[in-house]
């Protein structure tokens, strides 16, 4: 059944979707490998949910094809696809108990009745909900419903599990807890996950690869690490983690390439510099730490936000601003108005395509 050798498990090829004149999804190609935890990340309206619904079969794309395990499923109805979805609203059947909800896909897929109870018990056990099997949805908390929705989606052992912002309605603590549950579960059962979220932290912490989307377009598809350190454009740079986007002009003068942006003027090491670059907050070092960096400059502290383990410092360079993130220290905090020395390395300056 597994056919790793035959390329990606799930392949979207130039898939697009239009509602009337509104282009919800521009032609987009994505491949997801067997066993991968794949995320679609972007703000609302970016086309990520549309992409997910096309994979699930709730929408037929306006153009392009969807292949699962080498078969064209573009027009296969959802009930004949080897995918299952965890819905944002959980979509638990209100008239069925937790166990009945979980048993539902098995019944629908004609699993022999004798197998069903054991598999339901197993799935409910995997999400640690054994005690609540006989409850109706309205008798459960949000987190409990979420787990049952998850159990219902995995009980049929789909080849791809689709998760549509499944943690969106949960509070922070539950959310973090559920992230661990999801990652743990994914490793244990080995199902391919396609995970839709607008929360970059969630995506970065759980995913093998992430497709960042915006305005119906795929912006960048990469591992969390690459996305973080090598954002392709300013959207990705600002959406993933926290980056300064330095935008200015590149001047080549007497063999030297200089990027000018406001008061900042950086001598670039190579000639092919682009006029736009991203610089992570934490790539800027403050005070003694800045010694020996490729670029060192003086600035005034405009504002300092204490975030617990770190401090976010806004630097005023005489008109233009840069934000730095420094580890917080028990003593010696910076205050607005303090003059400071700061610096960064060339390799942290990520040229942007746009």
């Amino acid at each position: 059944m597994l056919n790793k050798s035959n390329g990606p498990l799930l392949r979207l090829d130039q898939v697009s979707k239009a509602y009337g004149s509104y282009q919800a999804l521009q032609p987009t190609s994505i491949s997801v490998d067997e066993g991968e935890f794949f995320s679609l990340l972007g703000p609302s309206g970016c086309g990520k949910t549309t992409t997910l619904r096309i994979i699930a079969g709730f929408e037929v794309p306006s153009g392009g094809t969807v292949h699962l395990g080498g078969h064209d499923i573009t027009r296969t109805p959802p009930n004949h696809r080897d995918t299952n979805t965890v819905f944002q609203s959980y979509a638990l059947f209100p008239h069925m108990t937790a166990a009945e909800n979980v048993a539902y896909p098995l019944k629908m897929r004609k699993v022999p009745a004798s197998e069903i109870p054991a598999r339901v018990t197993e799935a409910i056990g995997q999400v640690e909900m054994s005690k609540f099997a006989e409850r109706l949805p309205h008798e459960m908390s949000g987190g409990q419903r979420q787990r049952i929705a998850l159990a219902r989606a995995i009980v049929g052992r789909p080849r791809v599990l689709l998760l549509d912002e499944p943690l969106g309605a949960l509070d922070l603590k539950l959310r973090e807890q559920m992230q661990h549950v999801l990652v743990h579960l994914q490793r244990k059962i080995g199902i391919t996950f396609v995970y839709v979220t607008h929360d970059q932290g969630e995506a970065l912490s759980m995913s093998d690869r992430i497709a960042v989307m915006s305005g119906g377009r795929l912006q960048q598809l990469a591992t969390p690490r690459d996305l973080y350190y090598q954002p392709a454009n300013s959207f990705v740079a600002s959406f993933i983690g926290k980056s300064n986007v330095i935008s200015g002009t590149v001047e080549t003068n007497a063999g030297r390439t200089v990027l000018r942006s406001g008061a900042l003027s950086i001598q670039m090491p190579d000639r092919a510099a682009k006029p736009k670059a991203a610089l992570r907050y934490e790539a800027i070092a403050i005070g003694p730490e800045s010694e020996g960096r490729d670029v060192v400059f003086d600035a005034n502290v405009d504002d300092a936000l204490f975030l617990g383990n770190s401090v976010e410092i806004t630097l005023d360079l005489g008109g233009s601003r840069l934000v730095a993130m420094a580890p917080s220290q028990r003593d010696g905090q910076v205050r607005p108005g303090d003059p400071v020395r700061a610096g960064f390395n060339f390799r942290d300056l990520v040229p942007l395509d746009d």
Partner: protein, 571 residues
């Protein structure tokens, strides 16, 4: 509103605790218990030569129960009404499903168009059906001309088929509206979740849509069933001798024989039998669970047909959508045609074109007065019923009244009482309460059966709503009024509208009860009713053609002005 206690966990419970249970009991007392005590009390009295004798007896019951005729007619009445409601459900439920889930722009129009035919007087519709089904009628002409029959059949009219058909016709809008309000609340995400779980159309329907909408269907079915049980005029007019229903016999006891005790006993037995059937219906439709998400079911699309099977399904769907409308509007077309027919009498063939009946209409002040009165009665009845219905539904939904189920059924009893019996009980009650004959008597009389319908439909919606919405709103600082206006009402709006529509329909076409309440000022149905007995004028066709056309045009204009439902945007 200023000195209300802080909102309790029950949401509206606190507010309702102060004002409402008392009103529920008062309503029950004045409009249900009192008339029914009179009815039940009378059934234990003796009658001598048309005069009540105040001596307790069980003789009326033993006579009723021993009578083969009563037994047969109860069975026939109930089975006919049940069959009619069933046929109506088979037609209306799929239609409601389609309209609620697959229509977008013209959804409201589609709903309204189902209801409009019922604004045309019952008698007019019956006449129209006769013209369609008669030996020289439209159906026979069609069948003979297409070669399906070699000669006209007399099997259509004056048969059980005709009875069930016409009763089902009248039942369709009730089943439709009630089912619609339930189906509309089945979240699209649940349907997708089911498909996602591997369920096809049928399994999704059976396991998800059906359990979540069957209560709504049951209410519509019950309503249709009750109306069919109560309507003995239609069966007798299209069913021939075998169209005789128990209501007719009961009416004859109250009228001709003047044997009220016997008629009362027969009514009580009928109500008991009907209650059994209703109990069974609601038992079958019992369901559990509360809907947590309230996304309305718009936006689903029928998949573009891929296979031959898809094409077949799509074709069947189209037929299932269009046919009921044809069915509903056929009698109206007949009425329209005859409003331009030169003959005094409503039979085929047509004799010539005339506008005389429309011209005559302008001069007929009685007819115009009757129409105005009908509108006033219907609008006031519906407005009051909606207010009372919402309050009562909230009382039942948010307060744990003792014997809540029983009280609900109690309030609904007048819907199940044969018209003539209800009419007489209300007259006597009104006299006891000092309510003068006239428009207020009619309004109060109509409210006894309109309010329960409105209440039941709203209650069905409320019971499926998560009470935490109300609690959340109160928690966020909204007062009861704001919570109702901004949170609760938007969620029950379609149920309120549906209930109001049905209530209006019930009121606007009521004959038998109204007959006892109007005094000197007849409503339009009464006017037509009396005309039918003596000196019917085709101007009646003309006025109902105008009403029908005006309704449809107004609906379309309103839709164009207000604008069609906006499509929900997707991300």
């Amino acid at each position: 509103m200023t000195d209300l206690p802080p909102p309790a966990t029950g949401g509206f419970g606190a507010l309702l605790r102060r004002v409402s249970p008392l009103t529920v009991y008062l309503w029950l007392m004045a409009l249900v218990v009192l008339p029914n005590i009179l009815l039940v009390g009378t059934s234990f009295l003796k009658s001598s030569g048309g005069v009540l004798v105040y001596e307790p007896t069980l003789a009326n019951y033993s006579r009723t129960l021993a009578s083969g005729t009563v037994q047969l007619l109860i069975l026939r009445t109930i089975s006919t009404a049940f069959a009619a409601a069933l046929v109506a459900a088979l037609i209306a439920f799929p239609l409601a499903f389609y309209v609620s889930r697959y229509m977008k722009r013209w959804k409201v129009v589609a709903v309204m168009l189902v209801v409009v035919p019922l604004w045309i007087s019952l008698l007019m519709r019956v006449f129209a059906w006769r013209i369609i089904l008669g030996e020289n009628g439209v159906l026979n002409s069609f069948l003979v001309s297409t070669g399906l029959l070699t000669e006209p059949s007399d099997a259509f009219l004056y048969s059980r088929f005709a009875v069930i058909l016409t009763l089902a016709y009248m039942a369709i809008p009730y089943v439709f509206v009630s089912s619609y309000t339930a189906l509309e609340r089945v979240p699209q995400s649940l349907i997708e979740a089911s498909q996602d779980s591997g369920a096809g159309l049928w399994n999704t329907f059976r396991n998800v849509v059906w359990p979540l909408s069957k209560q709504g269907l049951a209410i519509g079915f019950a309503l249709a069933f009750l109306l069919a049980v109560g309507d003995y005029i239609t069966p007798s007019m299209v069913g021939g001798l075998d169209g005789t229903m128990l209501g007719m016999v009961i009416a004859s006891q109250f009228g001709m024989a003047g044997n009220w005790p016997l008629g009362a006993a027969q009514s009580v037995v009928l109500i008991a039998a009907v209650s059994l059937v209703l109990g069974l219906i609601f038992w079958l439709a019992r369901s559990r669970g509360i809907l947590q998400s309230v996304d309305a079911g718009t936006g689903a699309e029928l998949r573009a047909p891929q296979t031959l099977r898809d094409h077949l399904v799509l074709w069947l769907v189209r037929v299932a959508v269009v046919l009921p409308y044809l069915f509903l509007y056929l009698p109206l077309i007949i009425i329209t045609v005859f409003s331009f027919n030169a003959s005094q009498i409503q039979t085929l063939p047509l004799t010539g074109f005339t506008l005389d009946w429309y011209v005559a209409l302008w001069g007929d002040q009685n007819l115009i007065d009757a129409f105005q009165r009908t509108m006033i009665v219907a609008l006031v009845t519906v407005a009051l019923s909606v207010v009372v219905g919402i309050v009562f539904a909230m009382v039942f939904a948010y307060r744990n009244l003792p014997f809540s189920r029983l009280l609900q059924s109690g309030i609904a009893i007048p819907v199940a009482i044969p018209g003539i019996v209800l009419g007489i009980s209300i007259v006597i009650t009104a006299q006891l309460l000092g309510i003068q004959p006239g428009i207020w008597r009619v309004i109060i009389g109509h409210m006894t059966f309109v309010m329960p319908v409105v209440m039941l439909i709203i209650l069905n919606r409320l019971q499926r709503l998560d009470p935490s919405y109300v609690q959340a709103s109160l928690d966020l600082g909204a007062d009861y009024g704001q919570t109702f206006r901004h949170v609760l009402f938007p969620m029950i709006r379609t149920a309120v509208l549906g209930g109001a529509l049905l209530g209006f329909t019930l009121s606007v076409d009521e004959v038998i009860v109204t007959l006892f309440l109007t005094g000197t000022e007849p409503t339009l149905p009464i006017y037509v009713w009396n005309q039918m007995r003596f000196g019917f004028t085709p101007s009646v066709n003309a006025i109902f053609t105008l009403i029908g056309v005006a309704s449809v045009v107004l609906i379309l204009i309103a839709m164009i002005v207000i604008g069609p439902d906006r499509d929900q945007e997707k991300t």
